[in-house]
Symmetry: C2
Subunit: 192 residues, 2 copies
DNA sequence: TGTACATCAGTGAACGCGCGTTCACTGATGTAC
DNA sequence: TGTACATCAGTGAACGCGCGTTCACTGATGTAC
């Protein structure tokens, strides 16, 4: 073959990687194929040599973002347990940089409105994420761990969504801080 | 004047009311002016006699949705306190009918990406909502009440966002139920 | 009560624009001789 | 080593479409006589 195998794979990877940031920043509908490809010094026509359509890019780049976010979460857990996870997830830095953060607060409401196949891909990844976090919990049964992970995730995701929407810095910060406080109490209780 | 005062006001109200449902169902970008007006048996041109632009409609109809949602929340609180609120908010019925439900899980991620004026209108309404709910809490200080409301709201909003995105019914239900369980424990603790 | 009139809520054609997608093509590349 | 060639990653014009917004207008209405 006249191009190395790596070549096309690398371009594909670059598109997915960049798209995952753009989607987190502007939403699925706020990112156009032509502009996206242009920012990568490519033209829009080539897009369809890599993806069946925009929906396929959405599913793939969402999964990448969730994987990357999970990696960060696991590192925090290994370094400092749940307190470290709360510190990093519920930080102002995370709030102010959606492009590099967890895709759930930025995009899960939009995922709910997309095709069934996109939602299925999302669901599978989310379940994997819950399982990976659950392993770090002290609860005895699997279902207890899953329940606690679901709750903590819901609270963190909701807090981040609301904190990003709030225009008043004090309100935004208060949402992050109170969620941090209550969740910290919850994960510390189990140690006593 | 040749039309009654009520006439234009009533048309304006119909547009905002219907738009608030459409936005919750399809997102801000998923609703077009022409189609919206068409469904109300009006033509798109008339829209600009009622609103400066689409952004103004977004701000106004989001505020309406949040007001209506607050009314429902307050009724639940008066009827059965926080347990009743959790029952209704974290129900499958609420999950499956976003058009008539709370706009926060459906739209707060999108609000975060809109104009500052829209975000300011959102922030003010959200603060009012928090205050109204806070009055039903037993905590002694205002800031304790606000902190608890922020946390409960964040958890409910996040749980609903994730539950709506999840394609697997068992996962979706599990998120709602575990959030319900943990929040119920939280609001019952204070009684002991 | 019946008619002429002024108002303005609502109409609908038109605008420029960006969207997702298709497709005939081009030209940089690795390979074969 | 140097050249001819086949491949296919990427190009860019074109498609139909819906978007938000503007604006000259129409015609249903309540009012004045």
């Amino acid at each position: 073959m006249r191009y190395k195998d790596e070549h096309k794979i690398e371009t594909h990877r670059r598109i997915v990687e960049f798209a995952s940031k753009e989607f987190r920043t502007h939403g699925f509908e706020g990112v156009g194929i032509a502009k996206l490809m242009g920012k990568l010094d490519l033209t829009h026509g080539g897009f369809y040599a890599h993806f069946a359509n925009k929906e396929a890019l959405i599913a793939e780049s969402f999964a990448l973002a969730l994987n990357q976010s999970l990696d960060t979460v696991l590192v925090a857990l290994e370094v400092g347990g749940f307190p470290a996870l709360l510190d990093f997830y519920l930080s102002e830095n995370h709030r102010d940089h959606p492009a590099l953060g967890c895709p759930l607060p930025a995009l899960s409401a939009e995922v709910a409105r997309r095709s069934l196949s996109t939602r299925k891909a999302f669901t599978e990844k989310l379940s994997e994420v819950f399982d990976a976090i659950a392993e770090h919990l002290p609860e005895t049964t699997y279902s207890q761990k899953r329940a606690k992970v679901s709750f903590i995730s819901a609270a963190m995701v909701g807090a981040m969504s609301l904190a990003r929407a709030a225009a008043e810095p004090s309100l935004s910060k208060a949402i992050l801080e109170s969620t941090h406080e209550y969740l910290l109490t919850l994960v510390k209780e189990e140690l006593s």
